[in-house]
């Protein structure tokens, strides 16, 4: 007598899971081993990865192609500056305010943008990001159109900085970078784990069903519009947290930089498209390639963006599932498997 079990795990994913734990462990101790420049690079990679995972959740799983994610980066960043400068909050605690502010902005944004379909949704989110940018530029207390910096005193007394100074024997400015890096690592790991968990739950199944065929999904009782709301709000919250963290590290803000469509949306879209949209692995590969290209081509200024754009177009035309899609098609490899398979029982793999 044998019973069936439903499982998503594969041998490859188990091995990968172990590797991921080791890599994460190495990343945690990295500040003790590598220099400050490397930590800043890793910070950049991890925050871009977080933004890419949330955009991928929106576009790849939710079918909501937003070109307005910079609204939530900028809103999160400005909420952090506002909370620190005006309310005197500790910058680390203010990151939570970033997420909440982005979440609050997401409610009216979704209310307006969900009235628009497909491509018009994309431009609609862009308009709302512009409205937010122009409105924030009127907020004189945080520098209006020219921007402002985080006060030095708040930066010096930030939670954990002193502990890191004594623990690793580094100067205060390096300790701040390390703190920001650890927060970025925690956020990226939590994002990936959270999205993976979400996709494996009943809600994740509903989401995949809506993406594949909204009408069919509705016919079996999936509330498609509720799924859209959940995905949009979760993405906004995460993007806001990342935005707050990015500007905590930069310590200087202006509306044009914080609401930049190139930095916070175009780059993110290219990362996801090049790596592979609709997979968790895609953005990870994408961000590594993106960083490599940036290091190689950074001196070429606008040529760099042109090349990035052309690569994005070529991938979309000839390999729409991205590099990870190509690889996983050929090898059948899934590092974050979501597909449910039946094992055990009479028709298990071993007996056939």
């Amino acid at each position: 007598m044998s019973t069936y079990t439903v499982t998503t795990r594969t041998p490859a994913s188990t091995v990968f899971g172990l590797c991921a734990v080791i890599v994460t462990g190495l990343l945690v101790v990295a500040p003790a081993i590598v220099g400050r420049g490397m930590i800043q690079d890793l910070f950049f990679i991890l925050t871009m990865l977080t933004l890419a995972q949330f955009w991928n959740l929106l576009a790849g799983y939710g079918g909501l192609v937003s070109v307005g994610q910079q609204a939530f980066v900028g809103m999160g960043a400005y909420a952090l500056f506002g909370a620190v400068i005006l309310l005197g909050l500790d910058p680390v605690a203010a990151i939570l305010v970033s997420g909440i502010a982005a979440l609050i902005l997401a409610v009216p944004t979704a209310y307006f943008a969900f009235r628009l379909q497909g491509a018009y949704f994309a431009i609609g989110t862009w308009v709302i990001a512009e409205v937010t940018r122009l409105s924030i530029a009127q907020w004189k207390a945080v520098g209006g159109g020219t921007g402002t910096s985080l006060p030095r005193s708040a930066m010096r007394e930030m939670w954990g900085v002193e502990a890191i100074e004594t623990l690793l024997g580094v100067r205060s400015s390096a300790a701040r970078d390390i703190l920001a890096y650890w927060l970025a690592l925690a956020l990226a790991v939590a994002t990936i784990a959270g999205i993976y968990w979400l996709l494996r739950t009943k809600r994740g199944l509903a989401l995949a069903a809506v993406r594949d065929n909204a009408e069919a999904a509705k016919s079996v009782g999936v509330d498609a519009s509720r799924m859209k709301w959940i995905v949009f709000l979760v993405s906004a919250f995460g993007t806001g947290l990342a935005g707050g963290l990015i500007y905590l590290q930069k310590a200087r803000i202006s509306p044009d930089a914080a609401f930049s469509v190139t930095d916070w949306t175009a780059y993110v879209i290219f990362i996801v498209v090049i790596g592979g949209i609709g997979t968790i692995e895609g953005p990870i590969i994408g961000v590594l390639i993106f960083f490599l290209l940036q290091s190689l081509l950074a001196d070429f200024g606008s040529w760099y963006l042109m090349i990035l754009g052309l690569i994005g177009i070529a991938i979309m035309l000839f390999a729409p599932r991205g590099l990870w899609g190509l690889l996983s098609e050929r090898t059948g490899l899934h590092l974050f498997p979501i597909r449910r398979r039946l094992t055990g029982g009479r028709f298990s793999d071993k007996e056939t």
Partner: protein, 287 residues
């Protein structure tokens, strides 16, 4: 009286936005494709006219006539060999490809022409104006508005009075059945984008002569065009003109109150219309 003047300036500015929007609307109407590079294509066309004017010293209007076939060809090739590959049920490929194209165009223009702002000079015509009573209107804004009406009339004639217009409407309704009747949708789409590029050339002429432009301003033009299309209601060209006028009036009124509010006021007007009439002011049947 100053308010009347402001509103009239806004209406005339709306003509320019309607021109931006007409090309976008044409392409969307026929192949359900939203070209995110539309604004950057307008800027590209402005630079092409500028080059012709500075290199040969020809009149900008003549330069636009010379540029139009070049841009028609560019649009035709772009649609035939790149954008047609992206059409289908999935909305991601066309969006991401045109978004990539927008980034490529912006940076190519930046590389070629630097970030300095440019203007196409029209000589005395730039400052010429017509007076009616105590009001005076610039000749260029009047010409822009007249051209917008002309383009919309022309496109409507093209749609409803010509063979190619019939092909456009048939392909728009049902590409598969149209192709059974001997229409090749790929060619029809390429021609449509070519025609949209002629409208782009006309908009570029007025954009470049009315104010300064530089490689970075394309996306903002795309947004104004998009707002005009949504306010007017998808598929209605006259509605698009009304949408352009609403954005234009909102912007000039906003600017009259506080110069920093110009752009914001246009966006707010759009959001209000979206809130009150989600399908626009003049929606077409079921879409």
């Amino acid at each position: 009286m100053i308010w009347v003047d402001t509103i009239i300036q806004g209406i005339l500015l709306g003509g320019l936005y309607a021109l931006f929007a007409a090309g976008l609307s044409l392409v969307f109407g026929i192949m359900r494709l939203v070209n995110l590079a539309h604004g950057d294509l307008i800027i590209l066309a402005s630079y092409l006219i500028l080059i012709l004017v500075t290199a040969t010293g020809m009149n900008p209007f003549v330069a636009a006539i010379v540029a139009a076939p070049v841009l028609f060809a560019l649009g035709w090739l772009l649609q035939r060999f790149v954008l047609n590959r992206t059409l289908g049920d999935d909305i991601l490929p066309p969006l991401l490809v045109t978004f990539g194209l927008s980034i490529v165009l912006q940076n190519a223009l930046l590389e070629g022409f630097s970030a300095d702002s440019q203007r196409i000079s029209l000589g005395a015509l730039e400052t010429a104006s017509v007076s009616v009573g105590s009001l005076s209107f610039g000749v260029i804004p009047l010409l822009t508005f007249a051209s917008a009406i002309g383009v919309i009339l022309g496109l409507n004639q093209l749609f409803y009075r010509t063979g190619i217009g019939r092909a456009f409407r048939a392909t728009s309704d049902d590409a598969t059945t149209a192709s059974l009747m001997g229409i090749r949708p790929n060619r029809v789409f390429a021609t449509a984008t070519g025609i949209a590029m002629i409208v782009v050339t006309i908009s570029a002429l007025y954009l470049g002569t009315r104010a300064n432009f530089d490689p970075s301003i394309g996306p903002a033009r795309l947004i104004y065009a998009f707002e005009a299309v949504i306010i007017g209601g998808l598929g209605s060209l006259w509605g698009t003109l009304a949408g352009g006028v609403i954005i234009g009036v909102a912007q000039t009124l906003g600017a009259a109150i506080n110069p920093e509010w110009q752009i914001l006021a246009g966006h707010v007007a759009f959001l209000v219309v979206l809130l009150v009439r989600p399908r626009g002011l003049f929606p077409r049947g079921n879409d």
